[in-house]
Amino acid sequence: MDMRREVSCYHCGLPVAGGRRYEVTIDGAARAMCCPACQAVAEVITAGGFTQYYKYRTENSARPEAAHQFAAFDTPAFQQSFVSVDTAGNSSVQLLIGGIHCAACVWLIEHYLRQLPAVSAVRVSLSEQQASICWRAEQLKLSEICTAIATIGYEAQPFTPSRLEQLRDAEQRLALRRLGVAGIGMMQVGMLAIALYAGDVQDIAVEYRNLLRLVSLLMATVIVFYAARPFFSGAWRSLQTRSPGMDVPIAIAIGLAYTASVYATVTGSGEVYFDSVCMFTFFLLCGRYMEMRARHRSGRVTADILSLLPATVLRAAANDSWEAIPATGINSGDRLLVKSGQVIPADGSVVSGASNVNEAALTGEFMPVTKQTGDTVSAGAINGENPLTIRVTAIGKDMRISRIKQLLERAQDEKPKVEELAQRIAMWFVLAVLSIAAVVWLCWHFVQPDLALTITLSVLVVSCPCALSLATPTAVTAATNALRQRGLLVTRRRVWEALPYLQHVIFDKTGTLTQGRLRVDAVEAAGGVDEQRCFAIAAALERGSSHPIAHAFAGHDTGLAVASRHTETGQGVQGNVDGELYRLGGVSYVAGITRLAATEQTQNVILLANQHGLVARFKLHDELRPDAAAMIKQLQDSNFDVHLLSGDASGAAVDVAAQLGIAHVVEGAQPQDKLAYVQKLQGEGRSKVMMVGDGINDIPVLAAADVSLAMLNASDLAKTSADCVLLTPSLEMLPYLFVMARRTRNTIRQNLLWALLYNFSAIPLAALGFVPPWMAAIGMSASSILVIINSLRLWPRREHATPLPTPS
C-alpha cells in the first residue's frame, strides 16, 4: 500500500522521489513537484495567473535545467551579431527556444513575455521553436528576457537564421504565393469556363464568348507565367543537363494547352483549355508545396551540429576570475570553466575537477564517462555533477564533432541516386510524342495542308501528359498523408522508389531498439536483507543524483534518511543509513569497505554492501522497447535482413541481438565503421539499405543509407538528414511503412499504365483527324480525374476512436 511510489511530478511528469517535499497549489489543489526547479517554475506560472497552461498542454513540461548565465548576452560583441535595432530605437531578436512542444507552451511564453513592461511584440512559432521579440533595450536587457523565459522553464538562445534557413524561408514563401495565385486564378477561370460551356450549349453571342475568353486568357497568363514558372525553369534546367525529368512533360502540357487556347482566342475559332491549364497547375503546385512543407517540418535547418554548443562560455580572466564571453571568442589554449549540466564548448583536456561526462551526442551511449585531470573531453558532451576546468586543445574545424559533420557531408555526396520510374518514362514519352507530332504534320502537309496545323495541335492536346505527370505526385501525396496521420513523416520522395527494393534494415541499439534508460533487471539479496529494503537503501543513496543509474532506482525511494553521503565520481556512492555505512557501486569501490568474493562479475552489475559484507547485487539493463521484438519478427517474416550496429562495446548489443533474434551484429562501431558497413552492403548485389537511428553518431549512416528513419527522440540534426521521421515513440509503424510503400508503388504503376494507355490509344485517332478539340479536352480531364481518384484510395480513412466490439 505504498502510495508514494506512484506520485509523479505535476510539472515534468518524472517520478517524485521519497516523500513529497516540494509542492505548489495549482487551481486549488496541492500538486507534488519532483525538485526545487520544477517547483520554482510552477510557482511563477501560477503566480502570474497562467494556470490554464496546465489545463491545455498536451505533454508534460521539460524538467527545467540548471540556470544558465546570460550575462554575456549583454556584451556589445554579442549584441551586434544577434540583435537588430530599428530607427525608432526598438530592438528585435530571434530566440531559439528549447522545450516547446504544444500550443500551451506558445501561449504561456507569449503571454508571459507580453506583460513585461518594455516588450512590445512577441511571436512564438511552434513548428520552428522560435520566438521573435521586439522590445526597448534601454528599459530591459536581453539577459533579463532570457532569464524571464528560464523562470517559466524554457531555454532561450539567440540565433541568427543561417543563410540556408533564409533561403528556405524565401523559397517557402514564394511557393505559397504561387500556390495562392494559382488557386484564386483557378476559381475565377473555372467560373468563366462554366459560362463558356453553358454558352456552347445555349448558343452564346460571339461577342460575349470572346469577352469571357479574353478574361480567361488574362488570368491564365498570370498563372502560366507566374505560378507555373518553376515547371518551366525546371524543364529548361533538366534539358540543359540532358536528363529530361517530370518537369518536361508538365511544361509541355501547360505550354501547349495554353498556346493552343491563346491561338483560339485570338483567331476566335477552335476551343480554349484555360480551365484545364489552371487546374492542372494548381494541383501540381499543391503536391509540391505539401512535399516541401513536410521536408521543412522535419527539422530546423539551423540544426547544425555546431548549434549544439553553448553560445557563451566562462573563460579564465587575468585576476583569477571567470568572464563570460561569446563562444566564438574561444582560442586554443584558453582555460574554460564548464559548470555542472553545461555542454562542453570545445575539445580540450581537463585541468582540474572530476566529473561524469555524458558523451551521447558523440557516441550514442547514454552511460556517462568519468573524466579526471589529464583526460580529454570533446565538444558537445554534457558535463555531469561537478564543475570541470578544461584547457582548449581544438576549436572549430578540428573538433571531433566537426569531423562527424565532415563525414556526414561526404556521405550525402556519395548517396546512391534513385531514378524515379516516372522520370524514365517521361523522357521516352516526350520524345515519342514530339516525333509523332512531327510525322503527323508532315503527312497532313502533303495530303491536306490547310488542316495540318489544327490536326497536329489536337494530337498534341490529346497526348497532353497531364495524367502521366499526376500519376506519381498524387499517389505520393496521398500515401504521405496516410502515414503522417499514423505518426510517420516521410520527407523525401526518393523513399517511395527505394522502399520496395529494400533488402537490409539496420538498427542502432541505444534509443532505437532500447529505450535508452537503465532499469533494474534483477536483484539478488545476499546478506539476509529483503529485496524491498535493498531497493530502499540503494534509492536513498542515489537520491538527488542525475546519473542514469540513479534514475533506475528513483521509483523505489521510500524516504529513508541518509547521513554523510559522499559520491566518488565514476565509482559509486556511500552514506550512513540507520547508523550503518553502505556503499553502492562497482566491485573495486565496494571492496574498499568489505571483503568480496574474487569471482564477483563486473559487467552491468552494481553492488550494495556494508562493512559486514555484500548486501545485494543489482543487474542493470537498458530496457528494450516493448514493441521491438514483434516488429523485428514481422520484418524477418517478410524476408528482410535485419542488422544491429551499435557504438556500445560492452556486450550489451550482442545480448539485445540474441533476445530479438538478430543474426548480424556489430558492436563498438565508430561512425566511420558504421558508414563502411552500410556502403559494403550497398555494394553487394546493389541491394538497398535502410537505417534506423537517432544519435548524432548515426547521422553519416543515415545520410548514406538508401532510406533512413530517425526516431522521435532523435537529435534535430538526425531528423533533418533522415528521409523519414517517426512522430510517435512506437516502432509499430515500421512494418506499416513497408505495406504502404508497396501499395503506393502499385498505385503509381496503375496510374502510369492508365495514362499511357489513354494517351497512346487517343493519339492515332487524333492523328487521323477523328478527335474534335472538345473531345480532346474531355478526355484529358477524365484521364486526370481517374488518376486522382485512384491515388485517393491511399488516402487515410477516418478510423473510429474506439474499436467496435468484434462479434465472436
Binding site: 487551481d27 486549488g28 510557482e43 511563477v44 501560477t46 503566480a47 502570474g48 495567473g49 497562467f50 494556470t51 490554464q52 491545455y56 504544444c102 500550443a103 500551451a104 506558445v106 501561449w107 503571454h111 508571459y112 506583460q115 511571436r123 512564438v124 512559432s125 511552434l126 513548428s127 520552428e128 514563401r173 505559397l176 504565393r177 495562392g180 495565385v181 484564386i184 486564378g185 475565377q188 453571342a205 460575349y208 469577352l211 478574361v215 488574362l218 488570368m219
Partner: protein, 64 residues
C-alpha cells in the same frame, strides 16, 4: 447582358485586391505556424493575468 462589360472589370479589381491581401498575409508570416493558432482560441483570455511581482508569490485565491 451588357452589364458583363462593367462587372467583369470590377471582378478583376477585386481579384487584384484578394491577391494583394494574400501576399501581405504570406509576407506577414500568417501561414508559417498553422498549428498553434488552431489551439490558441481554446485559451480563455478574459481572465487578466496578474502582473508578476518580484516579492513572494502571495496570490488571492481566485479559483472557484
Amino acid at each position: 447582358m451588357e452589364s458583363l462589360f462593367i462587372f467583369i472589370p470590377i471582378v478583376l479589381v477585386f481579384i487584384g485586391i484578394a491577391v494583394k491581401l494574400f501576399f501581405w498575409a504570406v509576407d506577414n508570416k500568417q501561414f508559417d505556424d498553422l498549428d498553434s493558432a488552431a489551439q490558441s482560441i481554446l485559451f480563455d483570455d478574459d481572465v487578466p493575468p496578474h502582473p508578476p511581482s518580484a516579492d513572494a508569490p502571495e496570490r488571492k485565491p481566485d479559483n472557484e
